[in-house]
């Protein structure tokens, strides 16, 4: 019976993240617009964008190969699976033992690998610049993320995200310096990985400093819809990771009744709203940085993660 319930939670989670991801992006956009004293697009605009793109023809460059056409599906699928592995409203997901946090980071790495290849596939300078910079950012963001993961796993004694969330929720972890460092590092990585200000500007592809949007410049129609959906999912994933690890209150633990699940879902929505507000406020308050300042930013994230891990190594006697 338990496995059926876990499976149900897992499927609910897959549907939930897919349904919520565009709304979250729309919420961030709307909040940003309000902060800038603009009306802003409606909350549901991202859904409309995806649906509109799905109805449009694909215009494919002559030099594009099958990699270009397959990449959107793989990027979408890996990001979706990765997002579904993060506990949002309940732990005890049935697939969570298939991939721990390290595998989650690697899954996102696979998506990025395919997308960077697709950027190079058409053979234009814009695609190349995007791929090259995306890989530069990833080459520092991924180790920083892994260092944060190390910190959490060492504390919780597990690399399973569900176990980490349960550990943080249940035991008296208290305020730890390592955790603070890891939180800051993780937020920095999340900003970089989701192409947010100050690393990249999600709203434009007309700047020479652009990264993500340059890489996907040649995409159109249903392919672009998939890539956009993957980007929405990735943003939601990072916010969910931060919420479930550092702010685990309210997540239903495996085996609790349906009431706990509903409550968990409500708390999850509140957490998302808080995360979206903070992200929008942060993005409004800060200016975009030059590309070659990005390594300094991410180098700081890597150092924070490394320090957090080192502190744990030194203080742990286990």
């Amino acid at each position: 019976m338990a496995i059926v319930l876990d499976l149900f939670v897992q499927i609910a989670q897959m549907v939930l993240v897919l349904a919520l991801a565009p709304l979250f992006t729309g919420f961030v956009r709307k909040t940003k617009a309000h902060l800038l004293r603009r009306q802003g697009p409606p909350l549901l605009q991202p859904y409309r964008e995806v649906l509109r793109l799905l109805r449009k023809d694909v215009v494919l460059a002559d030099s594009a190969s099958w990699v270009f056409r397959v990449a959107p599906y793989l990027v979408f699928a890996t990001t979706w699976v990765a997002a579904a592995l993060v506990p949002t409203f309940a732990t005890g997901l049935v697939f969570s033992y298939a991939a721990d946090v390290i595998a989650l980071v690697a899954l996102l790495g696979s998506a990025r690998f395919m997308l960077a290849l697709a950027g190079l596939d058409v053979g234009t300078s814009f695609g190349g610049i995007g791929s090259s910079r995306e890989m530069l950012i990833a080459s520092l963001a991924e180790p920083a993320m892994l260092m944060v993961v190390f910190t959490l796993s060492l504390l919780a004694g597990s690399t399973q995200l569900s176990s980490i969330a349960e550990f943080m929720q249940a035991s008296d972890v208290g305020l730890r310096f390592s955790l603070a460092l890891a939180l800051i590092g993780l937020i920095m990585v999340a900003i970089a990985e989701n192409a947010r200000i100050p690393i990249d500007n999600p709203a434009t592809h007309l700047e020479l400093t652009m990264v993500h949007e340059a890489m996907i410049l040649e995409y159109s129609g249903r392919h672009l819809a998939l890539i956009e959906a993957a980007a929405f999912l990735k943003l939601l994933l990072y916010v969910s990771v931060i919420a479930c690890v550092f702010f685990p209150w309210g997540i239903a633990v495996s085996g609790q009744g349906p009431v706990a699940y509903v409550a968990g879902a409500g708390v999850y929505l509140l957490k998302l709203a808080a995360g979206g507000l903070l992200l929008a406020a942060f993005e409004t308050a800060i200016a975009k940085m030059r590309v070659f300042r990005v390594p300094d930013f991410l180098g700081a994230a890597l150092m924070l993660g490394f320090l957090a891990t080192l502190l744990l190594f030194v203080t742990m006697a286990r």
Binding site: L60, G127, M135, T159
Partner: protein, 670 residues
């Protein structure tokens, strides 16, 4: 007994090697020789797999009355040897199968075929050897055979210099190993491994042996700073031999380290683990940074071998550190990670070298800046190369990810190590490993993207043709192995159990019987990974997305010119190149590691000269370690040069002086 069969296989390979000398003139010589080596390696592979899986009765030792008269030649197959025989013979079978097609393009088969078979035989013998003399003799045979293969095309630019450097480094490495075995054997001179195992050396001697073994076998494996010959020599050989050297011979070197450090030295010390793991971490990052700066496809792959050797040594170092502290399950985990990576790397590195060989055959080019767009002309090679790239970049669900994941798990159990130095060092090594994994992905986006994607940058790339079916078949078999080892890692981990039990005194928990073929290195609550399930879920999610889109979305597709933000340029020269792709990373890391300098000359307006950009990279390690030695040798040689042109009187004086000096020495001695 299995050992007899393996020795017969080696004998057959040596016979093929001798027979290939006269046969090389025949038109079908390469097909015959590679066919023969393929069947022999496949047989040896089957025997080795049986030895590893069945264990017990198939393992054994044997002494042949050859070699030193008072010693004989000892051979032995144990679990460790059986595992490395699998790696050697899988690589050998792959290279032979590939060679059947690739070898037809060889202009001088007489320079390749005899040495190829001898090289295979020598690598098998190194793993089978059970005394110091046989080990060193076959090690040197392996070096010489591969040197001859590096020099097969000795007239091509750079190859002779590469061969010269290789010869120096190989002799230097063998000298270090010779001294190591001399120390191990002790004054009584028990050169059989049995005797060495019975009398493990004292702590001081053990430290010296460890250093010598790391220098001797590490230089063959490509451990930084002894790696300098590797990226020159490996690419100079024909591509299937490059695959063997990079994928297999470096693993034989790893075998040498494991045999000496884990087996012969007895109980490990924790600082040995620290040293090995630190060397591994530095090697991994240096290797991948060098690879990123490289535009020659084969040399890029060779540098990447250096990176993967680093990852293997991180695992070995952790295993030593755990073993020294009596943490046997953790040592087994780290050792399994290292050995699994040995297997994985031999598979995907061979695959990638075969791919680069296919590119070389069909375009004649190794320089990535001249390639591009090959996916349209060589779709099968491109697909196999893509699988290899994903595997080596440690992306799930392929095999490279599993072994790196296991290494990370080993790092995560290491806070329990009591030594303070290790507490500081291991997180740093974890960071280096994470950094090298991320940089490897960037490197292979570049390698695959610039070579196979985009638009062709030269006529040769534009008119490329798919290679023969033997080569394609080989690449696909290896790509399939990459996937199978990635989704069913439990069976591979279980197969390594006898090896870790004999070397680390424990094994990882049995994996094959777990539900859904999940792998659980320590405990279910701690960490688990299921490549098969992950692969199936991703396939399911992708299928679901594709199905939904094809049912509800527009299926229309229109071909047109590239959009490129409204500035399409017809010339393929406007694409990103390998150099421009790695430029940001060069700016971030290169200024420190390579002392990279960029010089840009832009002529003033109205001047018709082209703008120029020069990038200067310097290998700091070469400047620090090798340039002074080369300088001293050159200086001394110059001074001695004068002695060559003396008069007869001066020579007679010299001889007289030398005689007097020697007599004095003798007189003082007594």
């Amino acid at each position: 007994m299995a050992l007899t069969g393996l020795l017969w296989c080696v004998g057959a390979l040596l016979a093929v090697s001798v027979a290939a000398i006269p046969a090389a003139r025949l038109r079908s010589a390469s097909t015959l020789v590679y066919g023969a080596t393929l069947s022999v390696s496949a047989l040896a592979l089957a025997i080795a797999i049986a030895c590893l899986l069945a264990g017990g009765p198939l393992l054994g030792a044997l002494t042949l009355p050859v070699g030193l008269p008072w010693l004989g030649a000892h051979f032995r197959v144990d679990a460790l040897a059986a595992f490395f025989l699998i790696v050697v013979n899988l690589g050998a079978a792959g290279a032979s199968l590939y060679g059947i097609g690739y070898g037809r393009h060889e202009e001088a088969p007489g320079r390749v075929l005899p040495f190829f078979a001898a090289f295979l035989a020598a690598m098998n013998l190194v793993v089978l050897a059970d005394d110091a003399f046989t080990f060193l003799f076959t090690w040197e045979l392996m070096s010489l055979a591969s040197w001859a293969l590096v020099m097969a095309h000795h007239r091509r630019a750079g190859n002779a210099a590469a061969g010269y450097l290789y010869l120096i480094m190989a002799s230097f490495g063998t000298l270090a190993l010779l001294l190591a075995f001399g120390l191990l054997a002790g004054p009584a001179g028990g050169y059989a491994f049995e005797a060495i195992r019975a009398a493990p050396p004292a702590a001081g001697v053990a430290a010296a042996v460890l250093a010598l073994a790391l220098i001797g076998a590490g230089s063959k494996a490509g451990l930084v700073p002894l790696h300098v010959w590797l990226p020159l020599a490996h690419p100079a050989a024909p591509s299937h031999v490059s695959a063997l050297m990079s994928g297999v011979m470096t693993k034989v070197a790893v075998y040498g380290v494991v045999r000496i450090v884990f087996d012969l030295l007895g109980v490990p010390t924790w600082w040995a683990g620290a040293l090995v793991a630190l060397l591994g971490g530095v090697t991994a990052v240096m290797g991948v940074l060098h690879a990123l700066m490289e535009h020659d496809l084969k040399r890029l792959l060779a540098y990447h071998t250096v990176e993967n050797i680093g990852i293997i040594f991180i695992g070995l170092g952790l295993a030593l550190a755990f073993g020294a502290n009596g943490m046997r399950p953790a040592a087994a985990l780290a050792l399994t990670a290292a050995l699994f990576h040995v297997f994985n790397h031999s598979v995907f590195k061979s695959l990638l070298f075969f791919g680069s060989g296919a590119v070389l055959t069909s375009t004649g080019l190794r320089d990535m800046e001249q390639l591009g767009g090959l996916i349209h002309r060589m779709p099968l090679t491109a697909f196999a190369f893509l699988v290899g790239s994903a595997a080596i970049s440690a992306l799930p669900p392929f095999n490279g990810f599993v072994s790196e994941w296991l290494t990370f798990q080993a790092i995560l159990v290491s806070p329990a190590l009591p030594q303070w130095l290790l507490k500081f060092l291991v997180p740093a090594i974890g960071a280096l490993l994470a950094l090298s994994a991320a940089l490897a992905a960037a490197c292979f986006v570049k390698a695959f993207g610039v070579t196979f994607l985009g638009r062709p940058r030269s006529d040769a790339a534009r008119s490329a043709r798919e290679v023969d079916r033997w080569s394609v078949a080989t690449m696909f078999v290896l790509a399939a192995v990459c996937l199978v080892a990635g989704v069913l890692p439990g069976y591979f981990i279980d197969a390594l159990a006898p090896v870790t039990r004999s070397l680390a005194g424990a094994r990882m928990p049995p994996q094959g019987a777990l539900d859904w073929l999940t792998i659980v290195p320590v405990a279910q609550s701690r960490s688990s990974y299921n490549g098969l399930l992950l692969f199936l879920i991703i396939a399911f999610a992708a299928g679901l997305g594709a199905e939904a889109i094809h049912r509800w979305a527009s299926g229309a597709l229109r071909r047109s010119a590239a959009w490129d933000c409204g500035f399409p340029d017809a010339s393929p020269a406007t694409q990103y190149t390998a150099g421009s792709f790695s430029q940001p990373i060069r700016r971030v890391f290169g200024s420190v590691v390579f002392r990279a300098r960029e010089e840009v000359h832009i002529p003033p307006p109205g001047d018709l000269r082209p703008a120029e950009m020069h990038v200067r990279l310097r290998d700091v390690l070469w400047d620090v370690f090798y340039a002074p030695i080369a300088g001293v040798v050159g200086y001394v040689a110059d001074r001695f040069n004068k002695v060559q042109f003396l008069s007869i009187r001066a020579y007679l004086t010299l001889v007289f002086g030398a005689l007097v000096a020697l007599l004095m020495v003798l007189a003082v001695w007594q």
